[in-house]
Amino acid sequence: MPMIRAEDATKDYDVIIVGSGAGGGQMAFTLTLAGIKCLMLEAGRGYDPVTETPMFQRRDQAPLLGNSTPDKEFGFHDATVDGGWQMPAEPYTQASDKPEEQFWWWRARMMGGRTNHWGRISLRNGPYDFKPRTRDGLGLDWPVDYDDIEPYYTKVEQLIGVYGSNEGLENTPNSPEGVLQPPPKGRAGELLAQKHGKTLGIPIIPIHRAVLTQKLDADRLPAVLFPGNTWAQKIVGDAMRARAACFWATPCGRGCSTGANYQSTTVHLPPALATGNLDIVANAHVREVVVGADGKARGVMFIDKTTGQDVRVNAKAVVLAASSGETVRIMLNSKSTLFPDGLANGSGLVGKYIMDTVGTSLQGQIPALENLPPYNEDGAGGSHFYAPWWLYQQAEALGFPRGYHIEMGATRGMPGGGNPLPDDLGDGAYGSRYKQEARRYYGSFMGFACRGEMIPNDNCFAELDNSTTDAWGIPVLKWHWLWAEHEQRMCDHAERTFKDLIETMGGTVRSVTNGRNRIEPGGKIIHEVGGAIMGTDAATSVCNGFSQTWEVPNLFLVDGTPFPSNADKNPTLTIMALAWRAGDYLVDQSRRGLL
């Protein structure tokens, strides 16, 4: 991937984009194909999925059998570079000593950010999800509704490629005919759960993931996405042709060298670079946004990590897409006489209303899945089925207002690196009996996970910690966290549901329930959104429905920061849809000379 050196970023740029993940990648794609000259600054190093992805590497080829270490917390082969829960050069702090009041912050420092290793689960928010307060009086509404965003969900799905099915379920939108890629066949455990889910009224259906089960239709889609623009069509068509279809092996979390799943580095950045309108500087750690006397953004200051020098670059507009926590941090660190409390923070809401997803899980062992004859279940490198929330009409009776979806893990996945036969089941087995028992139980364990909606609250926020700085002397974030009773009750319900499901499948629950601790700590599900919410006015929000800040009209936020709610649907598809829409709006504004 071609990049330039910091000292060569001297062109007359229209827009500076900070961050190269889902939001930054989408913004670069949208703007450069509209002819806008962009400079992308990425704090991490350059990263090339084609040459760096460990596709077929086995666990016996990795140190410690590929297991997690403090250096690689999701395992050796996971496509996270210079990141994890802790990064020595970029610490963060907690306001409380209590584990349940702390926030876990996962970051990656690499071209493409967390999109290189994300789970690729790509669910649309439904109409309810944009108007939660209207429905139940809690949390915050979005200033946009489903119909505003729908065209962009469709465009993103067409561009990145998402498999799934249209089931017409409540608040679980269909995509227009022909937009989704065909879903992969169900695995044994998924089909078994589907069958028994039915008796409990739980709809288990194909999940949506950003994986190409077929090659993209490069002859048709570019004209749909860029009608009348043959230049853009050619670039996008070429980029689509360069991506292969999934070959049904290798976990997606390692990244995909053939471009068969979505990562910014294989889907957004190549066509954006092909326009000739994008320069990328890696190892560019942005310190602050610089504003002029007119209160508009003039550019940014960044540290060139290669030389340690501070560098200033200018542009007509600035887009922040550094991930919601980092965007908050950059805004709070951008202090000036005009903006003494941080940029575009007149409302005092920058850093407020941070949300994650409500997570809990339960494992079971299913005798029906024991001793199955061997066959290949690798599939699409992630889950094939899930259950969308199915009890919208029963919120009152349930005692918690919002829903969760169920993700499930059931697969005869690549073994090794762990003990396949838990001691209690093995009953002391060693020798050939151990090997027989390991084979018997292999593939018979299933896990169910709750991924639920958290309602924003006043206790979950981030602020600057002026007593701690990162390796470049920049103040870091201090996190505050407290789950509310809603979320706890949701987890109680999820756990009972999973127990029922496991037992209906004839299985037994394996993991112990641990009461109030069953809820995962804040941040643990890595769906951090909020912190600079969108709304209808400058007093109660930081930006408008186009992710444009109220106070600085040429400053846009296109990661998760503008989310005023965090539906149970994993956030990234919505981040991309909002970014594309913000990009179209920015193009329109600049054509009208309004920036």
Partner: protein, 243 residues
């Protein structure tokens, strides 16, 4: 304040939700005192002087782990063999005991080769020689455990564990293969055995021979994904619901 890596399980990838029942590096910490107590108990039961037993305790005699980890940006796309990233540290006696024990646990049979043919002890040595907290914790259990095996073999059969007959080795293993049933004097040894079995199996099933032994088929590209075969669907009483 930051998160304490050692005390929390953070291996679960949020959206790559798996169902692996047990992850190897989650053994509860065995405090050093316990290890020492263990050896005191062994010493008492063997009626040996402290000195003889404490010779086996990791400490002054054992190499201290000083190597660095592989950092946050290691080369992923290449093979790393045990010993490449940090030195292996098992003594020849410990290695011999480990190889013998791994083969008792994972012998050659109709399901596949013996652990020793699959380099399992190299992986184990890499594991207990690694500069990370979970592995350092295992080191405190595995090294004395291997030493204990030889002491116990000597006490019962007058030789080191590796030189015993299979039946003699099994006689020792039978006493320590399941912690809930292990006698008071064997509790800690049983914890060692459980951990060792875990690690040996973790290595065994990471190899292609191990895949075959457990029934894993995959890691090979294919033009289609066919899902479970009819035989499996029939056994489960389900239909394939995706066309």
């Amino acid at each position: 304040m930051s998160h304490n890596y050692q005390d929390q399980n953070q291996n679960q990838e949020p959206d790559a939700f798996g169902a692996v029942p047990i992850v190897v590096n989650q053994t509860p910490r065995l405090p050093r005192r316990t290890v020492i107590k263990w050896f005191v108990a062994v010493a008492a039961s063997l009626q040996l002087g402290d000195a003889q037993v404490f010779g086996a305790e990791p400490g002054p005699g054992e190499p201290v782990i000083t190597a660095n980890g592989y950092g946050k940006d290691p080369l992923l796309n290449q093979t790393h063999n045990p010993g490449d990233l940090w030195p292996l540290t098992l003594s020849p006696a410990q290695r011999a005991a480990a190889i013998a024990l791994a083969d008792v646990i994972l012998p050659a049979d109709n399901l596949g080769p013996a652990a020793s043919q699959l380099r399992c002890v190299d992986f184990l040595d890499e594991w207990v020689s690694a500069p990370y907290p979970a592995q350092l914790r295992d080191r405190e259990l595995v090294l004395p455990g291997l030493d204990w095996l030889d002491v116990e073999a000597g006490r019962r059969f007058g030789d080191v564990f590796a030189s015993l007959t299979l039946a003699q080795q099994q006689a020792i293993c039978d006493d320590i293969c399941f912690e809930p049933r292990a006698g008071e004097n064997f509790k800690t040894a049983a914890r060692f055995f459980s951990r060792f079995r875990s690690l040996a199996a973790a290595a065994y099933y990471a190899t292609t021979a191990g895949w075959e032994a457990i029934g894993y088929v995959g890691n090979q590209p294919s033009l289609t994904y066919d899902g479970p075969p009819d035989e499996v669907l029939a056994r489960l009483g389900v239909e394939q619901t995706v066309a």
